[in-house]
Amino acid sequence: MKIKLWINNKVYEDHVEPDTMLLDYLREKGFKSVKCGCDTTNCGVCTVYLDGKTVLSCSVPVVRADGHRVTTLEGVAKEAEEFARFMAAQGAEQCGYCSPGFIMNVLAMAKELKKPTEQEIKEYLAGNLCRCTGYEGQYRAIRNYLGATRANYQLFEKGEVIEGVR
């Protein structure tokens, strides 16, 4: 089938099989940040944006992206790097396998929720699994990132010391 789509603002025209998944297509085109983690449609590693909305690219046939805009981590490198510094400051990562999908969802959340509460953050990101940490480092990184990048937003209590704040 013939398709035309935009990946990180660059146009791609191709012939694809109807059962080729967006995940596999993106990897084939060299977007290696997009990975499959669970094979059961729930770990969140393969998260990309389809017309600005987060989707699991493992379960979207690429023909569905025909005529649409796809964004991968490579397309938001600047924002991703900014957030990644907060992650590193917390030593939040161990193996790092889940980070691309996680960062994509954090950036989507930061765009969608103005001043999220702890509960809202955890609920928004519940579909991103990390099997080596306990999410605490990531959570601290998000608090610090949101605290630093938007005005009048403090998620943590006054006087609470967050180690590693830049």
Binding site: P18, T41, V55, C58, P61, V63, N105, L125, A126
Partner: protein, 275 residues
Amino acid sequence: MYTIQGYEKVKSLEEAYELNQKKSSAVFGGGMWLRLGNRAIGKAIDLSDLGLDKIEETEEAFIIGCMTSLRDIECHEGMNRYFHGMMKETLRGIVGTQFRNTATLGGSLYQRFGFSDPLTAFLALDTTIEMYAGGRIPLDEFVSMDYDRDILVRVHVKKNGRKAAYQSFRNTKTDFPVLSVGVSRLDSQWKITVGARPARAVVAENSGKLSEILSENLMKEASEAAIRQFASAVSEKVRFGSNMRASSEYRRILSEILIYRAVRDVLSQSEEGKM
């Protein structure tokens, strides 16, 4: 993983219906569950170009297109305001935001999955399913019908002042529910639905019994005990099964608690004077 021979973004429902008469065809909703199977699909029928991904609110109803994502329903202000946050409560536990951006209401309701949170919730409301050939079918009937080769087009939820609440229990967040419960009240009629039994959701009660019980037990403590007793009696009538997540006995006990909580929720909405 499934295989697909041909993929058709249909231009009309008529075309979709024609294509779907072949057994090897499959209507492609979100494709989330389909991915976990090994089906060989001759023709995947994609309805996404038909503008059926929207929620329309009229004086009498919410009309939800079959391709509307679970996430859009979860975040829909009008529906959440009308049903007191029930949509959010029903959908927020399903896998993750990315999943709910893709999974569709039509897919979840048509398949009548036992684990379907929306099936249990919408069954508690005044919901009719609009099928392309079959016309409007009350969800109460649709839930126990066999699969056919028709196309689910829209879901209509009446705005008739019904108060409703949803409860589910999960072993871990984002997992399938171990049990789900919907409770609603229209005047003196109380409707109670139980899903993830683990079989398909059922209407466990639809009567004025609870209203009678409550009018006989006006004191707070008496009414508490009466609601618990009622929840227990309703749960006794439901058939539960066992699977890897829980035993049937455990589900029955959960059912009593979840019915009780949802009834309390509906009563507290009524006490806010929004009857």
